[in-house]
Symmetry: C2
Subunit: 176 residues, 2 copies
DNA sequence: CCTAAACTGAAGGCGAGGTTCCGTTTTGTT
DNA sequence: AACAAAACGGAACCTCGCCTTCAGTTTAGG
């Protein structure tokens, strides 16, 4: 593979990642191309169609997130800190894209698998945080994960922004 | 105006209101017609085009909200209670629709006016709540209003749902 | 300098949703 | 009951934006 091709493929991926994180999953191929300073044709040279690009990014993102999740889970942290760390990490990712793919990803086994594993992981940590007494108990772990999804799938979500902070504070146990 | 026409106009408005509150502003005319049990043609008999329907609903909603807001503001409540009441009220409204219209409503003076008044009202109450010591002080009133917008413009938001609760709890002052 | 790989962006195709229109049904009146 | 005007229904039409293609041009690498 030629050097410029490799460079451009990388450029497309990172540009698209940023745009999806910022504006949600509805970004058009032309917008991505323009933002990357390339022609649309170049996108199609690297990814046969839009779906392929989306899948590639979703896979990369979820693989990375799961890895980060497992590391964090195994780290010597309070469950609250672990949860907080994970949420902040998600806030910089194109989660809206991934959510929007959930509908049609029944065909892609790995995406399905990754998503199941992540859900389970988040839910388990939330449950442990409740036992630990740091996460409020009047909401079920499953629903906590749902709330965090809303916080994090919002287009324009960024790590450390105020809404994320407020939601985390709101989830903190008020009866210590 | 014939009785059935009056009934159907009302039916369209309430159905559309529900759908917008539940699914956001992108609901199609056909979906509204189907949900109301009417043909698309009937929608166009009552509203010349989509824009007219949207405007009508937005106007009704904002007029009602402002009225409720002023009443609440004047009531004998702590500023925190007032804010909470207002937010819970908004959560049942098609706020996503209204937000999506903000871009193109420069042409409609009354909508613009209503929105300005509401912003001012919310901001003032937030500011007073901070002085009162019930609303956290590390976020500016303007940004508080922005956060509440996110909470409330989410498709599917309902009064008393868990995300609204969590965000309100997160906004509550932690240094009493 | 040459060739194959890579790039460009205008043109084509397609689907989703808004809008129209006319035959059919309902309402209210004589 | 019969009639005229008003209202309704929904298939057909139209528009617009976006995905995708492709023939001509540029560039990397030997």
């Amino acid at each position: 593979m030629r050097a410029d091709a490799r460079r451009n493929r990388e450029l497309i991926t990172t540009t698209a990642l940023d745009l999806f994180a910022e504006h949600g999953a509805a970004v058009s191929m032309e917008e991505i191309a323009r933002a990357a300073g390339l022609g649309v044709g170049t996108l199609y040279r690297h990814f046969p169609d839009r779906q392929a690009l989306l899948e590639s990014i979703a896979l990369d993102t979820l693989r990375g997130l799961l890895k980060f999740g497992l590391t964090t889970d195994a780290a010597d942290l309070s469950r609250w800190q672990a949860l907080q760390l994970l949420v902040e990490h998600c806030a910089g990712l194109p989660m809206a894209l991934i959510k929007s793919m959930s509908a049609s990803l029944s065909l892609h086994p790995e995406l399905l698998e990754l998503q199941r594993n992540l859900d389970t992981l988040f839910e388990r940590i939330a449950e442990q945080a409740q036992l630990e007494g740091t996460l409020r108990r009047d909401i079920s772990p499953r629903e906590v994960v749902g709330l965090l999804n809303v916080a994090v799938c919002r287009p324009g979500a960024r790590a450390g922004d105020h809404l994320t902070t407020v939601i985390l504070d709101g989830l903190r146990s008020t009866a210590p």
